[in-house]
């Protein structure tokens, strides 16, 4: 079982007092909190090894490079991939943009790019840009109105119908928490040699994806949503396909040779890492991975699941509350509304109680339109949350709602 007290002690921010109340942080879907070891590693790096990476003949440069590449190994191992299949980016958004840019070359007018109705703007807008540039067509796997998730049958039918060149879909929805049936979908897409991309921004920490098992072509994630620092993300790609993509940004580090006439580039992952990378970010994300490895995954899942079930059951008891999405297969994220009240009012009052939730469309405007709403209040849990926090939250929530009635 997860020793939750011990876990919480490792996150210094969880001791914060906000508006005279202990902080209850239910906004991990926006960004996770960071354990002390991650913070310490940044501190340590800048006080002991700070230096630019690669080509460093001096000792600091060597220290920095070794730690930097070690972190790549750690992440690779964590998701069951090879180090050279991991590209560092500045976030899931950049990873998706890199892919959209690189895969444009493979597209012809009329080719279909298939996404789901639950996608974050980061997995919609880059593809719209690609379609505008290449004549490809964006198609959507719809939300089933009753279950508020995508249906596997419908998805298969659409795959058969469109034989998409690219399928890009989130592992878990940031707004609803739905865990999507990606293993089956990836498997089915192989029928048409579809290039499969998984947006794992929300799933990385909660689901610890296994690249060999998933068998997708690409998987993207953000460090800051998985205990790591801001300003860093990653892109996993099956090596051959990854290496076949054209370069994205160009500059130092990724060069074999440059003359004023022409340039040649190194192989992946280097060719996608132009310029000085987020060195302290990468190294401290390595420590975040170490931290996760020390937490038993089954313990984490069990704890997260029990928090989710408890929260759901408590919310369901409050009349006037409407819950959205898949309430079975879920990473621990619940979106709700209360009568006709505006989420903004609810969140503002909750903030008075030291409770951090997110409101709005959560960068999923098209999903809001499918649900026929403007926005929601979103609670997103992580393994460092407690049952007691949920109890407190429910008490405060009821108070706040009564203010609105």
């Amino acid at each position: 079982m997860l020793d939750i007290d011990k876990v919480r002690k490792k996150f210094p921010i969880l001791k914060q007092v906000v508006n005279k109340q202990p902080l209850i942080y239910f906004d991990s879907g926006a960004t996770s909190q960071k354990p002390q070891c991650v913070i310490d590693s940044i501190n340590y790096f800048y006080s002991n090894s700070n230096s630019n990476v690669h080509r460093g003949i001096h000792t600091l440069g060597d220290r920095a490079t070794v730690s930097y590449e070690e972190a790549r190994n750690k992440v690779a191992k964590f998701i069951n991939a090879q180090a050279k299949e991991i590209v560092w980016t500045k976030g899931a958004t950049e990873s998706l943009n890199l892919l959209a840019n690189g895969l444009s070359n493979f597209l012809h007018p009329g080719d279909v790019i298939l996404i789901s109705a639950l996608e974050h703007h980061a997995n919609i807008v880059p593809w719209q840009q690609v379609c505008a540039n290449t004549g490809a067509i964006l198609k959507i796997i719809p939300l089933d109105e009753t279950t508020e998730k995508i249906k596997l049958e419908t998805t298969y039918q659409l795959i058969d119908l469109y034989k998409p060149k690219i399928l890009s879909i989130s592992h878990a929805s940031n707004t609803l928490g739905n865990i999507q049936p990606i293993t089956d979908i990836i498997q089915y897409s192989k029928k048409y040699q579809t290039i499969t991309i998984i947006d794992g921004a929300q799933a990385f920490m909660h689901l610890r994806p296994d690249m060999l098992k998933l068998n997708c072509d690409f998987y993207v994630f953000s460090a800051h949503k998985s205990l790591g620092p801001t300003g860093l993300g990653g892109l996993y790609g099956k090596y051959e396909l990854l290496n076949s993509l054209p370069v994205y940004q160009t500059g130092g580090e990724m060069i074999k040779s440059v003359s004023f006439d022409t340039s040649t580039f190194t192989d992946a992952p280097g060719k996608f890492e132009a310029g000085t990378p987020n060195i302290s970010g990468v190294i401290s994300f390595g420590c975040a991975i170490d931290f996760m490895n020390k937490i038993d995954f089954l313990d984490q899942k069990t704890h997260e699941k029990s928090l989710f079930i408890y929260l759901k059951s408590q919310l369901e008891k409050i009349s006037g509350i409407i819950l959205y999405g898949d309430l079975e297969l879920n990473i621990g994220t619940i979106s709700f509304n209360y009568k006709n009240e505006h989420p903004f009012d609810i969140a503002t009052l909750l903030d008075q109680c030291g409770i951090a939730v997110r409101v709005g469309n959560h960068c999923t405007q098209p999903l809001m339109r499918c649900l026929n709403i403007e926005g929601t209040v979103r609670i997103s849990l992580a393994f460092y949350n407690t049952k007691n926090e949920i109890q407190q939250f429910i008490i405060h929530l009821k108070q706040c709602l009564s203010l609105l009635d």
Binding site: N19, E341, H342, F344, D345, T348, L349, Q352, V359, G360, Q399, L403, L404
Partner: protein, 138 residues
């Protein structure tokens, strides 16, 4: 500053708890004249708000006064708009420019609602009122 504003301010500062304070604010919001649906157009929306806020500011040439109409789809912002209307209503541009809204909000312990990051548009509205008053005054 007019009496009705001072009244409102007293009500808010004297609230015994944050719950009471927000109840006051939301009650004030209910007093706010509802903006006709035809006026709730995109061009009147204040940028950078998490909720929708519509704002109209006009200058009454005869009375040399700013006329402000505003609405929001959230109760709290509506209440804050109502406070702003009390604060500025029936003032000349010159009088408006003399008001330190930051200080007023601070004294009501509502300063945090002026943070541009709160996404409620209040700060933007205050800026806009001052800008218009400044232009009228020239």
């Amino acid at each position: 500053m007019n009496d009705s504003y001072i009244n409102v301010k007293n009500q808010i500062t004297q609230a015994g708890s944050w719950q009471e304070k927000y109840r006051e604010i939301m009650t004030l919001g209910k007093e706010l004249p509802v903006l006709p649906q035809e006026l709730k157009v995109d061009s009147a929306i204040v940028d950078g708000c998490e909720s929708n806020v519509w704002l109209y500011i006009n200058f009454n040439n005869e009375e040399r006064k700013l006329l402000i109409a505003a609405d929001s789809d959230t109760r709290i912002v509506k209440g804050l708009l109502s406070i702003i209307l009390y604060l500025y209503s029936d003032l000349t541009p010159n009088q408006i420019l003399l008001i330190d809204a930051n200080k007023e909000f601070e004294e009501m312990a509502l300063l945090k609602h002026l943070s541009p990051s709160r996404g409620n548009g209040i700060k933007a509205i205050l800026n806009e009122i001052n800008r218009k008053a400044y232009l009228m005054n020239k």
